[in-house]
């Protein structure tokens, strides 16, 4: 018994030692397993977890660049950035959001829609980031809030620079406007440049020169904690402000022109012939671009369009009008150049023109006719029969080729949005578009700028400028220079000019321009009413474009026609004749007579420009 116990004890110790060694081995294996796992996490997958760790704590915040300013040619600011105040609430720092809203509503205006918007934004806000309650606070509200600030912890105003157009409605179609970026635009641009609330140019210069104006977004790398509170800035790349634009527009001339247009719908384009610089570009009616910067309300948008006059339609570039009689100088020049009419050759005008073997009468605006008419007289008095005959003799192909030299039927390529090409009809065009052949009668009415032909006011002004320089053509453009306001460097814009319109004889130019001079200064000139008190010589051409087709033998009675069916009144002009400084095209929709309605507007604009600029550019 005793022996067995002793023996057992030895055996037990031996057995235990085996167990202890196995236990030590198991310990080694388990700790080895942990080390392998940690090796996997810390060494093999380290890069992965390091990224995740940085993603946790590092947040990239963008800072918007200041948008470039826009100046007119005199150095006046026409698009700037103004500080606006918005009211932000940081829910984490506010005791009770609803109480705070109630208290705030006692001192400033907070309406229902502000609160609904705020509540919506509150649901998806990031911790410790302000939620906007009101935007565009006025100065009084800012003052009230500043005084009461201590009562509202977590309520703050944020200042940001917002686009502002100090001239209001003036030059709106030149500038365009900026607005909040939308889905489609985000796809078009580099979206990283538009993080945050940065606006984008929607139309006009603001859109065309978006890349220059926008600048480059800056970034702040910040460290945040789990609640999203910013603890420190790790790295900062400041934003690069956008470049300033200096436009060729003369802001004062622009407002004179807008005022002169009165209440009418229509357009006016004024060009400096020597450079192609657009001095004024008006489309009526106007609207206020500032409405769009913060996002226009549905109500305001409806009000804008209620009148049905489509203010956002840029008539100067997108408006395609039948040019009417303002085409006569070009047709006339073409006839002289191609030898279908002599410099002093006379056409007998009996009040109508008939094609051989056809019954239809192509009427002159003057029922009794102009009698014996040369090119000079035909332009001065705007004789239709002369140009019916000339056009018929030239044929549509020659007319097309000639007018093509002046840029009709093609986009001028002006540096802004929404330009349209107009229409210069040809046999080929008709076959393609209308699937029929060209009729001789269509050639006849093309002679007075009617029929299929369409032109934009810019095309008319640009062609008139080319006429004033005897065929020398300049690329119309709005941008004169780009200024980098960080380096102070100004880059003047050079543009390539289109091919000149070439004419064999200089005397033919003179003759056409003489005819246009008689329009204004001649005894029977169709715009002689504006010529009496001019201190300089002006060449012009009136036009009256049919909107409403009158039947054969029917009388056109301006008084009895509803205003919207009345003819468009047109006038193109340049001055002074010897050394042209300005060329203008005016169209007044449903204005009636070009001489009576459109010409005085052009005169006012030219008068102002010549008196105030002496042809020199102050800038």
């Amino acid at each position: 018994m005793y022996r067995t116990l002793i023996k057992d004890l030895y055996m037990e110790v031996r057995m235990f030692n085996v167990r202890a060694i196995v236990a030590a081995l198991v310990s080694t294996i388990l700790i080895g397993l942990l080390l392998m796992r940690l090796f996997q996490l810390q060494i093999i997958e380290h890069a992965h977890f390091d990224t995740l760790s940085d993603n946790n704590r590092v947040r990239l915040m963008s800072s918007n660049p200041n948008r470039g300013l826009i100046y007119d040619r005199q150095g006046m600011v026409i698009a700037e950035n103004r500080p606006t105040f918005s009211l932000d609430i940081t829910p984490e720092e506010v005791g009770n959001v609803d109480d705070t809203l109630q208290e705030l509503a006692k001192i400033i205006t907070i309406n229902e829609s502000d609160i609904t918007q705020f509540k919506k934004a509150l649901k998806r806000h990031k911790p410790f980031q302000g939620v906007s309650l009101r935007t565009n606070l006025n100065e009084k509200e800012v003052a009230i809030l500043a005084v009461n600030r201590h009562r509202f912890p977590g309520v703050d105003f944020k200042t940001q620079l917002t686009r502002f157009y100090p001239m209001g409605t003036s030059a709106v179609h030149v500038l365009g406007y900026v607005g909040r970026i939308d889905e489609k635009e985000l796809q078009r641009v580099d979206s990283s440049q538009y993080s945050g609330s940065s606006p984008i140019g929607k139309v006009g210069i603001e859109r065309y020169y978006e890349d220059e104006l926008h600048g480059k977004v800056g970034y702040k790398k910040v460290e945040v904690n789990v609640q999203g509170r910013v603890l420190r800035v790790l790295e900062e790349i400041p934003p690069v402000p956008g470049k300033d634009l200096i436009l060729s527009i003369d802001a004062r001339l622009q407002s004179i022109a807008e005022k002169a247009m009165g209440d009418n719908s229509g357009a006016l384009v004024a060009i400096e012939p020597d450079t192609g610089e657009i001095l004024a570009m008006v489309s009526m009616p106007l609207y206020d671009p500032n409405l769009f910067v913060h996002g226009i309300s549905t109500k305001a948008y409806k009000a804008l369009h209620r009148a049905g006059r489509r203010p956002q339609f840029n008539r100067a570039l997108s408006g395609q009008y039948p040019p009417g009689s303002i085409m006569k100088p070009f047709i006339g020049l073409g006839g002289l150049d191609s030898g279908h009419m002599g410099l002093h050759e006379e056409v007998d005008c009996e009040g109508y023109f008939m094609l051989p073997n056809e019954e239809r009468k192509y009427r002159d605006w003057k029922k009794t006719g102009h009698g014996s008419t040369t090119i000079r007289k035909a332009l001065a008095e705007s004789c239709d029969v002369y140009f019916y005959q000339l056009a018929y003799k030239m044929g549509i192909d020659r007319i097309f080729n000639f007018l093509d030299m002046f840029g009709f039927g093609k986009k001028t390529g002006i540096d802004t949005t929404s330009e349209r090409r107009g229409l210069l009809p040809s046999r080929e065009w008709k076959r393609k578009e209308k699937k029929t052949i060209w009729y001789p009668g269509e050639t006849v009415i093309t002679g007075i700028g009617q029929g299929y032909m369409l032109a934009t006011p810019l095309q008319m002004a640009s062609a008139t400028a080319a006429l004033s320089l005897q065929g020398k053509r300049k690329q119309p453009h709005l941008l004169r220079a780009i200024r980098n306001n960080q380096t102070g460097e100004t880059l003047t814009i050079q543009v390539a000019d289109p091919k000149p319109a070439t004419i064999k004889s200089k005397r033919q130019w003179t003759q056409i321009i003489n005819g246009m001079k008689d329009v204004v200064h001649g005894v029977h000139g169709s715009a002689r009413a504006i010529g009496y008190d001019l201190s300089y010589e002006m060449a012009g051409k009136t036009g009256t474009a049919q909107v409403y087709g009158i039947a054969q033998d029917e009388e056109y009675d301006e008084e009895s026609l509803a205003k919207k069916l009345r003819d468009h009144a047109l006038f193109t002009a340049f001055a002074p004749i010897k050394s042209p400084k300005i060329a203008v095209a005016v169209i007044v929709e449903n204005g009636g007579s070009g001489g009576k309605v459109a010409a005085p507007i052009a005169k006012e604009v030219i008068n102002y420009y010549l008196q105030n600029n002496d042809g020199k550019n102050v800038h």
Partner: protein, 373 residues
Amino acid sequence: MYTDTIGSQNSGRFRLLQSMHLDPPLVFALLLLTACGLGILYSAGGQNIDLIIRQSTRLALAFGVMLLMAQIPPQNFKLWAPWIFLLGVTLLAFVLILGDIGKGAQRWLDFGFVRFQPSEMMKLATPMVVAWYLADKALPPSFKHLLIAFVLVIIPTMLIAKQPDLGTSLLIAAAGFFIIYFASLKWRFIAGFTLLTGALTPVVWHYMHAYQRQRVLTFLNPESDPLGAGYHIIQSKIAIGSGGLYGKGWLNGTQSHLDFLPERSTDFIFSVFAEEFGFMGVILLLAIYFFIVIRGLVIASSAQDSFGRLLAGSLSMTFLVYLFVNVGMVSGLLPVVGVPLPLVSYGGTSMVTLMAGFGMLMSINSHRRLLRK
């Protein structure tokens, strides 16, 4: 035999510790570990001095308990074992009944001046009673003895699982199992048990509630629920992984200091350490733990009687289980069960129990009957 060698090596310098019945290598390892723990806690707790003071107070108390336990000869533990066990089981039952009345989980007994957790007591009482039972039997144990030993383990395990405190009940079951293991449970029993567990897994899965299955699935793929149940483990893995080889440096862990890592002072404190000290630090920390476990096993093999051997072996291996479950949990190897990192995590009760266990180890090591002299 072993102690003689160690004793002669350290005879000069460590006489004082030895005269206090303490084991110098173990004391130094524990001091080193707890010092590291305080350092990590200072960082994890956001450099809160109050936290450190409270933890240090607890540590002092725990070392005091260890010193006290070391003075008690192991024969006394053996003598008291059944009575402590009976008291513990009674208290557990009491707690369960109180919990039923209070309608909710109840782990604490509140005596007014001190709150007491009977399940902590059972962490020591269970291995003690199993060791007491098996020590006098001829080993390896007969089937009958084995069965009784299992019953002794299962009673407290079930009572605590019902609280419910799954983590603690598993630790107690492990402690009891290690006694049976060291009592030379036949290998074929162990193999059979392992096989049975494996075979039962699909059956258990079948009878599990949907939310329990969800918990298992979240453990297997925490990324499937990154904001809910998977959040802890994802953030913990990010903390550990981003530490790399050398770590981000003390007090520089971003996951912990920017609050991404939850429970960083308690259950997930290892992740803070791994983030700030990297793989190198982790190797050193695990080395300290490994040393403690091995030192415990050495003490066990040199113990004079069966009771001491069994208890010492079980205490050492339970300590390892603590470590493995916690580190396995924070590194995504094991599901999230609330087991703290032993002697490092912030919190008192388990620390006192652990140090009491080390006190017993030292008592077993130092109180020797001079039998064979």
